[in-house]
Symmetry: D2
Subunit: 273 residues, 4 copies
């Protein structure tokens, strides 16, 4: 089997220090968490940024500062800014980090409920606009999907030339509104992507490690981090993103998967490197 790519989603846009005091807000904290994950074995840093008070922002200068800090601490890591943004942001606001020429960035391929009144909105035209911008800028998309139909949308839009192939997917499983986080669902999602595509899985909450272990068993890849889960075990907050990555590494060791370096991850993902 291929070596295992671990993506660390160290921050997210919604989880706060109330959930876990180690959730990073400041540039320094972002750097600290990225470094802990990187040293533990993460090759990709999936990056949201916050204002110092913890509110989410897509501000390009904030992204610039954070990316520089992450690069300083994790020289060869692949940095993957999120274009998810927050409710009410325009597409241009959301796309600001693309202007910093990152190697990767997220491309959310559909609209999905997030519980209560919250809806994560990405119309087809938005997907097309983001996908085309990434093609123009030579940025590898991480195709983020919350349900099976989003894979179908991504494949359809890739065929039309709006998303570059081979595609790398992230399956977010277990959101209230998306597909649930079961082995059956993960197996179905993985069987639905093109044969030249790759994937990571993000299990939300307590599904994080069961989904990670299953992906490792399948030959897939794994995303962990505070964005998706803040506990190292039931009821026990993780001390850092590094601790979450270490746990994935231990499971991978048990199952005989070696961990990919950032350079090996670039090769597996078909990136310029």
């Amino acid at each position: 089997m291929e070596k295992l790519i671990i993506t660390a989603a160290i921050c997210g846009a919604e989880v706060t220090k109330d959930h876990n005091p180690a959730v990073p807000y400041t540039v320094e904290e972002i750097g600290r968490e990225a470094e802990a994950a990187y040293k533990a074995g993460a090759s990709i840093i999936h990056l949201h940024v916050r204002n110092d008070d913890g509110t989410p922002t897509q501000d390009r200068e904030r992204f610039r500062a954070c990316i520089e800090e992450v690069k300083r601490r994790c020289p060869d890591a692949i940095i993957q800014p999120s274009t998810g943004g927050a409710v009410g942001m325009s597409n241009e606001e959301r796309m600001q980090p693309l202007g910093l020429n990152p190697e990767m960035a997220t491309l959310d391929c559909g609209t999905v409920n997030f519980g209560g009144d919250e809806i994560f909105v990405n119309s087809e035209n938005t997907i097309i606009e983001f996908g085309q911008r990434m093609i123009e800028l030579g940025i590898k998309p991480e195709v983020e999907v919350f349900d099976k139909g989003m894979i179908d949308s991504a494949i359809r839009l890739a065929k039309k030339g709006y998303i570059r192939e081979p595609m790398h997917f992230n399956f977010v499983l277990g959101v209230n509104g998306g597909i649930s986080a079961t082995v059956r669902d993960l197996s179905y999602m993985a069987g639905s992507i093109p044969s030249n595509a790759t994937f990571t899985v993000s299990g939300i909450g307590r599904a994080q490690f069961p989904m990670a272990a299953t992906a490792i068993a399948m030959g897939g890849h794994v995303r962990v981090g505070f964005e998706d889960n803040v506990y190292i075990a039931k009821g026990i907050p993780a001390k850092s993103n590094g601790e979450l990555v270490e746990k994935v590494v231990r499971i991978a060791n048990e199952l005989g998967r070696a961990i990919a370096t950032p350079q090996e991850a670039r090769e597996i993902l078909g990136m310029r490197g």
Copy 2:
């Protein structure tokens, strides 16, 4: 196997006489199409209504007039008004037909892209509000889902008491933004509902009859009609909803499934009758 329930979605909110001149707008036309479907074997009439110019409306009085016309022509049919409405409508506008005390009504269990800039919006709180209203009024919901995660949402909300069980699902397969219309997808969806639930499948466009045939082979049920497809065969517009239903009946005959009367449909669906 159980007898086959055929739901006729005779009108929809989006398809027009430009797509097929037999698409009904007026009360008279709605009645004509419902009757054709009913005589051909449909036991459930899934109902959207239009103004005379074809624009969609959720107006209660328009629903009242159409339902009376359908009842006159199809005395024992199960009438299932849509609560889908159109972009920009409030929940109260969308729920107007519930006030007419129909036996069934649609309950859309999530938000999904419909292509271009169009999004069909049903937040979790909207689902809860509609589900509770139907429980209060004793209306059997047709749980409409466009992707696997919507089934998971419906199950989760039913467990919390917001949707009455046993649930009857309609899988809409092949929308640009939802799960695709393949045998694999249909089999997966059918395997994802509770063991006491029932389902129909709506294949969009040219998927209508392949999905119908597969559902018949599975022991599931079928929805057809102009809302989902206006062609009787490739490139040939259907003359009426009745012609579409007749085709499903012929396929059912080939596969040895008898057609349920409205009364038999009520029993299969666990309705008061």
Copy 3:
């Protein structure tokens, strides 16, 4: 979608005139049934032969006589002798028809219970021997499988060079001892073969037409005939193999699949032609 290949399994080794008086035993009867199937739309004649008393035989001269009769009546049909034989036959006895240089022949890829004390025995070494012989003689195998693991065996042996690719499978579904005949199973089997492979499905008994309809909906191909089922509808014996093929053609017409001629079937299957 590709045109539909219909294989007619007109005779089998076990079904008798007691099951249906139209089951063919003599050379003349074999010819009559093959012709009826061919005229109705079958492009492949899957062939077992019998002695005049109905007992199964793998005798080369009996195969020669039957093949000549079939060729006389169905000039361009693809003739596919069975190598299945009967209990207690040696491999050489079973392989006799291969000496007649047919275009195709069956290659059973595993051992499976047939109910009671009966076991259809094909050890791995037998599969290898038959597969190699077909490679030497330039005969396209129809890889016959009764369970999912047999697909895995075929793929493993093909990788080792014992079965020529691309492979054409026949999924026999619903034997007592093999995988059951459900849409879920058919979908799973079809999703388990290599991307360059093709398949027909044989549903046993009353599963024949539901499995055929589903395969048509999937873009797969269909085998029907007295070997698998002797009824045209519940409790009504089919008058001929032609009547069974006609029913498949009607279903295909309803679902918009055109029927492949023998020459088109050769192209779809990647045969020399």
Copy 4:
């Protein structure tokens, strides 16, 4: 999730000291390996016995001696003798350990190739005979299956009263001739058993721990041991069955599954206890 039942298949009938010098042959060695597995967390000891030279036997007295030794060392463990036997044994020879009134015993539900010329033969009539004997003697069967169709056979025979329900399955995945050992296959098998059934999975060879981890993630149960795999990691022979069980326990700990005691296992399996 339920606590995790670990079955230790400490010996098997085919693996030898040439594969791993810790494979047990003598009564003392069997006892040693059972104890190591039990102390590490196994609640069920799946038991084959050997003559002192390592050849397999179904001799009742040898089983008696081994069972006594295992009971002495593992007082409350569930002991599950195999009725698999070896090629050429009669059903009565194979069923000898049933006469010792064990709590459980294996019931192989079909015939499958084992590679080369080897076939593991269990006709339908054999399954019925073994199943009925276990019902008469009040022995809980471990329904052993090597392919999907064997599950279907077990369900069919249980409906006819030949196998007592609820059934506990062991999925043996990855035998040359059976279904392969992938997450997709395991998910499919688990989705194919009755809702009141339980299962363990045995991944053969290097699939042992990936399949174990996936079963843990699914809420299923696990079988490990020398019968299925003799390596603790790639190229490194396990020192004992205990070491293999310890590894499963570590993975379960990472995934938050507690380990069932023998008494808890009896409750989960619906046994008299």
